[in-house]
């Protein structure tokens, strides 16, 4: 077996393009997922029964279906939804890359919701009561008192979820989007160099994720001391 890692060097510009998309997808999904996930968490904890049931239904559905299937669902759903909104004659061409952005935001929202819910529930009830006693409204109490603390308590868990998300974005491969893995797979098949390309991809992911999870662990122990 003769390995030729020179093929990786030649493909670096293309791989870098794929990697940039992977990072873009991760950051968008993390930010969007955290935003909508927090809203979902507030909905789940709401005293309005219909609201909390709807949020719980969404979260449980998303969490019991494989991500690959969710990606397929949205790949075919998004054009139809856009057609419904814009009233166009034919479903618009959205493209795998942009569909994936929306899919991951909506999918990750369910996972971030559960983390934020745990975070909110970890705050003593007295905090909310004192916020109300100070004359804050519900929105102010959440924004200024509860959510900042919940976010801080959950920071290590949230960051760990982002690392998981970073790995999961590789699944956009199934709709042929050109992320880091997608780019490597295309080069691997073009040059028949599967071993070199996939080993390279595995090593890059390992080094990045291992380093990041170490940093999260250090952050966790520092936060633990402060509290």
């Amino acid at each position: 077996m003769d390995l030729d890692f020179g093929v990786v060097g030649g493909a670096l510009p293309y791989l870098w393009k794929g990697f940039r998309y992977t990072v873009e997808l991760t950051v968008t999904a993390a930010a969007g997922g955290l935003f909508f996930g927090t809203l979902l968490a507030l909905a789940r904890l709401s005293s309005l029964r219909s609201l909390s049931l709807a949020a719980a239904g969404y979260v449980n559905l998303m969490r019991s279906v494989p991500l690959v299937l969710v990606i397929f669902w949205f790949f075919f759903l998004v054009p139809l939804m856009l057609q419904g909104i814009t009233g166009a004659e034919r479903p618009p061409q959205v493209g795998a890359e942009r569909t994936a952005l929306l899919t991951f935001v909506l999918f990750e929202a369910a996972y971030f919701c559960e983390i934020m819910r745990a975070g909110i529930q970890s705050i003593p009830k007295g905090q909310l009561h004192s916020a109300y006693a100070l004359g804050l409204s519900y929105a102010q109490a959440m924004r200024l008192v509860i959510l900042p603390q919940a976010l801080r308590n959950m920071l290590p868990v949230l960051l760990t979820q982002v690392i998981v998300l970073f790995q999961d974005t590789s699944l956009v491969y199934v709709i042929s989007a050109t992320d880091f893995v997608g780019a490597a797979a295309k080069i691997a098949q073009r040059d028949s160099r599967l071993v070199e390309m996939y080993l390279f991809v595995a090593i890059v992911y390992f080094v990045l994720c291992f380093t990041l999870s170490r940093l999260v662990k250090r952050l966790q122990s520092r936060l633990a001391v402060v509290r």
């Binding site: 077996m1 559905l61 019991s64 279906v65 494989p66 991500l67 690959v68 299937l69 397929f72 669902w73 075919f76 759903l77 139809l80 939804m81 057609q83 419904g84 790995q167 999961d168 590789s170 699944l171 491969y173 199934v174 893995v181 797979a185 599967l194 071993v195 996939y198 080993l199 991809v201 595995a202 992911y205 390992f206 994720c209 291992f210 999870s213």
Partner: protein, 246 residues
């Protein structure tokens, strides 16, 4: 949204003839369950061993266990699937010669089982380690005071308690495994999601096919949840906090 649903499509024949679409979906479910069950057996046995080893006092063993967990946790599952299916045979020539001769389904199935089994074993190892470390120090000391060897202490005192503690997290690992088995479609294994997409491509009834797969996955998740709650109640030790799931 304009989409005309056609649920009758499941009763139509596939282009190959003689096989109906609902049978295609059921055969996909069969592969999903087969891969998941075998991978679960590997994951549970290896994960328990690796997790236990990480709580021993031998530094070499702990390091080995840590390396195992980090290796499988920090590479995307999709990439691991490719490594098992595309890269492994190239590195082991006899394996390659065998694969060329047999039905590709065997190679896909074995690669998927090994990949998912080892990936999940790392996650179970993490849970088992946490379970053992959550036990009061006194348990280990008491076992030693009774004259039990390390092996006996783990076998009779620590593991029976720790394994009960980790039943709830293991339930979600089992469900993760079933969901993760869908990634085997990337190496061509005709499991549930693969079949749903295939049916969509043949009939253009994508949403009917995906709905069927979604309902089946939700049903599996709910069944697994109930089953594990039953196991938890069955093995509950009287006098301890956990009284078993609802």
């Amino acid at each position: 949204m304009s989409y005309s649903w056609n649920w009758g499509v499941f009763l139509e024949e596939t282009p190959e003839g003689g096989v109906y679409y609902w049978e295609l979906i059921v055969s996909g479910l069969g592969w999903t369950l087969a891969v998941s069950v075998l991978a679960w057996l590997i994951a549970l046995s290896l994960g328990t061993v690796v997790g236990t080893v990480r709580t021993t006092r031998s530094r070499g063993l702990v390091l080995l266990g840590d390396a195992w967990v980090e290796l499988f946790r920090n590479i995307p599952l999709l990439v691991q699937m490719f490594l098992w299916y595309f890269v492994m045979p190239e590195l082991i020539p006899p394996l390659k010669r065998w694969i060329v001769r047999v039905d590709p389904t065997y190679a896909q199935f074995i690669a998927a089982v090994l990949c998912l089994g080892l990936f999940t074993s790392a996650r179970i190892a993490e849970q088992v380690r946490a379970g053992i470390q959550s036990l009061p120090r006194g348990q280990r000391d008491a076992a030693a005071a009774l004259g039990l060897t390390t092996l006996q202490a783990y076998r009779h005192v620590l593991l029976p308690m720790a394994l009960r503690i980790v039943i709830p997290p293991l339930t979600s690992e089992a469900m993760n495994l079933i969901k993760n088995s869908s990634i085997a479609l990337t190496i061509g294994l005709a499991e549930l999601t693969f079949r749903a997409r295939e049916m969509g491509e043949y009939t253009f009834s994508f949403f009917e096919a995906f709905s069927a797969a979604t309902i089946i996955y939700v049903a599996i998740a709910m069944t697994a949840n109930r089953a594990m709650a039953w196991v938890e109640r069955r093995v509950a030790v009287p006098g301890f906090m956990g009284r078993g799931g609802r």
